[in-house]
């Protein structure tokens, strides 16, 4: 083979997937099995001891899922990846590998509402504590660092507000204090933004969204950037101390620049258990093959719809980073030059009630809690996804009473505009 580096679109189709070694099947088969037979006792021992590569049990590895993992690792430019049951499972496993009871991490307030709940509420029962950065500047993140800080967490393109984060700036803070930067790249996908190239150490995604792309399967992924030196100090004992479960093996020493992915798999996934189904992995793999085409069309359609809304007299404001003059437009051009993605928010005049009326009136847009489907989706976060938050938290997360979030699909833009036009007329 030539030494050309394959382009993104080629990787989206080929990375990780060779014809099936046993049958020659060209499409990755769905290995719908819980377990795999061992060649012999020695082979079993090698697998359990992490000395050989291979499959034991689908909670830990599966050949269909492995293709998905390698594909995402290649698209994000990481050293390795592991796929899990959902985006939230990915976040849980990452923190499980980094945090000890009593530890802290810093997160942006511009996050998916579910992540705000997971970090602010559920993680408390593990004695893991989030500190929220006051704004999106690197200085606001630095201001929250204490001796207990083990990670910084941001979304590259934040859900729902269309905020584009200064990944490089925040990565510099993380590097200076030797703390890994975790970036949730769900909304941008690696087609629009590759956070590892901007200094992220770990990328997580909900594959349920644009990667799968068809709203038919739950999945999540953790990508190891291979950039963080775990052994520099003793702050990440899961990676640097001997593991009793594996004959006192030290993961950072044995697995080098993909030790983080291995730790999440052989400790987190093995012991906490949120494995992805091979069938879902297959569906998501098929989806990823068209990711470049879909993300182009999503971004084009979203731009047209945003333009339309900007000119509508019942719309108070539109927050889409792709629009000239938007406060995040410069950051978008820097970090996501190929498009600003599908999801954005706008404010409908008349507040809470108008928001509820609008989502009730649409006919092509589906009123539901998801993003990243081929279909166009609409939601009023204040009455749904962000309902659990108090008013200040809602406002901080970009989910105030008048806010509508769209995930613009890949239908004809004219039909989407016509649907919003009729729905707005009747509020």
């Amino acid at each position: 083979m030539s030494n050309r580096e394959p382009g993104f679109d080629t990787l989206a189709i080929h990375a990780g997937a060779q014809p099936d070694p046993a049958t020659g099947a060209r499409i990755t088969p769905i290995y719908q099995t819980a377990s795999f037979v061992f060649d012999d006792v020695d082979h079993a021992a090698s697998l359990f001891g992490l000395q050989a590569f291979g499959n034991i049990y689908t909670r830990i590895t599966n050949p269909t899922t492995a293709v998905l993992e390698e594909r995402v690792a290649a698209l994000e430019g990481g050293t390795a990846a592991l796929a899990v049951a959902s985006g939230h499972a990915a976040q849980l496993l990452v923190m499980h590998a980094l945090m000890q009871p009593g530890d802290e991490f810093i997160a942006s307030r511009k996050l998916y509402g579910g992540s705000i709940n997971q970090f602010g509420q559920s993680f408390k029962s593990f004695d893991w504590h989030v500190r929220w950065a006051d704004d999106i500047t690197p200085a606001a993140f630095e201001a929250q660092i204490t001796s207990k800080t083990k990670a910084i967490f941001i979304e590259s393109l934040a859900n729902p507000g269309g905020v584009v984060m200064d990944i490089n700036g925040i990565a510099e803070v993380a590097r200076k204090h030797h703390i890994p930067l975790i970036v949730d790249n769900t909304m941008a996908t690696p087609y629009l933004c590759r956070p590892i190239e901007h200094g992220a150490d770990i990328v997580v995604q909900s594959l349920t969204k644009f990667m799968g792309g068809h709203g038919n399967s739950m999945g999540g992924v953790i990508v190891d950037g291979g950039t963080f030196d775990w052994s520099k100090d003793d702050r990440y004992p899961i990676l640097t101390e001997p593991r009793p479960e594996y004959n006192d093996m030290v993961l950072a020493e044995t697995f080098g620049n993909f030790a983080f992915a291995i730790a999440c798999r052989v400790l987190g996934l093995r012991d906490l258990g949120p494995a992805i189904s091979p069938f879902n992995a297959f569906q998501i793999l098929t989806g990823i093959e068209t990711l470049p085409l879909r993300m182009q069309r999503h971004s084009e359609n979203a731009f047209k719809v945003a333009k339309f809304l900007q000119g509508h007299d019942k719309v108070a404001w539109v927050s889409y980073a792709g629009l000239e003059g938007d406060e995040h437009h410069e950051m978008q051009k820097r970090y996501m030059p190929n498009g600003a993605g599908a999801v954005f928010t706008f404010g409908v005049k008349g507040g809470y009630q108008s928001g509820i009326d609008l989502v009730s009136n649409v006919e092509i847009f589906s009123h539901l809690a998801n993003i990243g489907d081929t279909r166009s989706l609409i939601i009023h976060p204040a009455s749904t996804t962000h309902r659990q938050l108090d008013d200040t938290q809602k406002a901080a997360a970009g989910a105030g009473a008048d806010v509508i979030r769209l995930s613009v699909g890949i239908e004809n833009a004219e039909d989407l505009i016509a649907d919003l036009e009729q729905a707005l007329k009747n509020i």
Partner: protein
């Protein structure tokens, strides 16, 4: 002279397919040390290995007889794999140059690199690979490491080659 920042996949593949016997300097008998993993893996892939470890001479590591030094080897080897710190390389080069038949390849493990040492070996006609692991390279090029979600940084429309059993791939040319 060979460039040492980047080795084309085809180059590494041809080295791993042509060598049959490998001396491993610094092979450990401790089953959780990386050097033991590598020794065991190379045996499973059909290579004849010769662990070199003075403290273990006369005992077996990964099923192979261990020798105190290269000078004690009972026969020539195709490759010498070095699991020692870079500062040990100059003296290892002297040992290699004193071998009755020179190996065709000297391989320095991940993290070990000294271009001056490499140049002196290359002058003697020896192929040098540095800062790589033969286990990772074999598993990457055969496809096995994909099972661990590893980014192999290579794509192919060819079928992987199955070895005996179910979960073993061989390198294909």
């Amino acid at each position: 002279m060979q460039e040492h920042d980047f080795y084309p996949d085809q180059h590494v593949r041809s080295i791993l397919s042509s060598v049959k016997s490998i001396a491993i300097i610094g092979a450990s008998a401790n089953e959780v040390r990386p050097s033991f993993f590598v020794a065991k893996y190379l045996v499973a892939k059909g290579y004849r290995i010769f662990p070199i470890n003075p403290g273990r001479a006369g005992t077996e590591i990964a099923g192979a007889m261990t020798y105190a030094s290269l000078a004690d080897l009972p026969e020539p080897v195709d490759m010498v794999d070095v699991f020692r710190h870079a500062d040990a390389l100059p003296s290892i080069v002297m040992e290699i140059m004193a071998m009755p038949k020179l190996p065709s390849v000297v391989w320095a493990q991940l993290g070990i690199r000294d271009d001056a040492v490499a140049a002196s070996l290359e002058m003697a006609g020896i192929e040098v690979i540095q800062n790589r692991c033969p286990k990772i390279e074999y598993a990457r090029l055969s496809g096995e490491i994909g099972w661990a979600g590893f980014n192999r940084r290579t794509i192919s429309s060819r079928k992987p080659k199955l070895q005996r059993g179910f979960q073993h791939y061989l390198l294909s040319e």
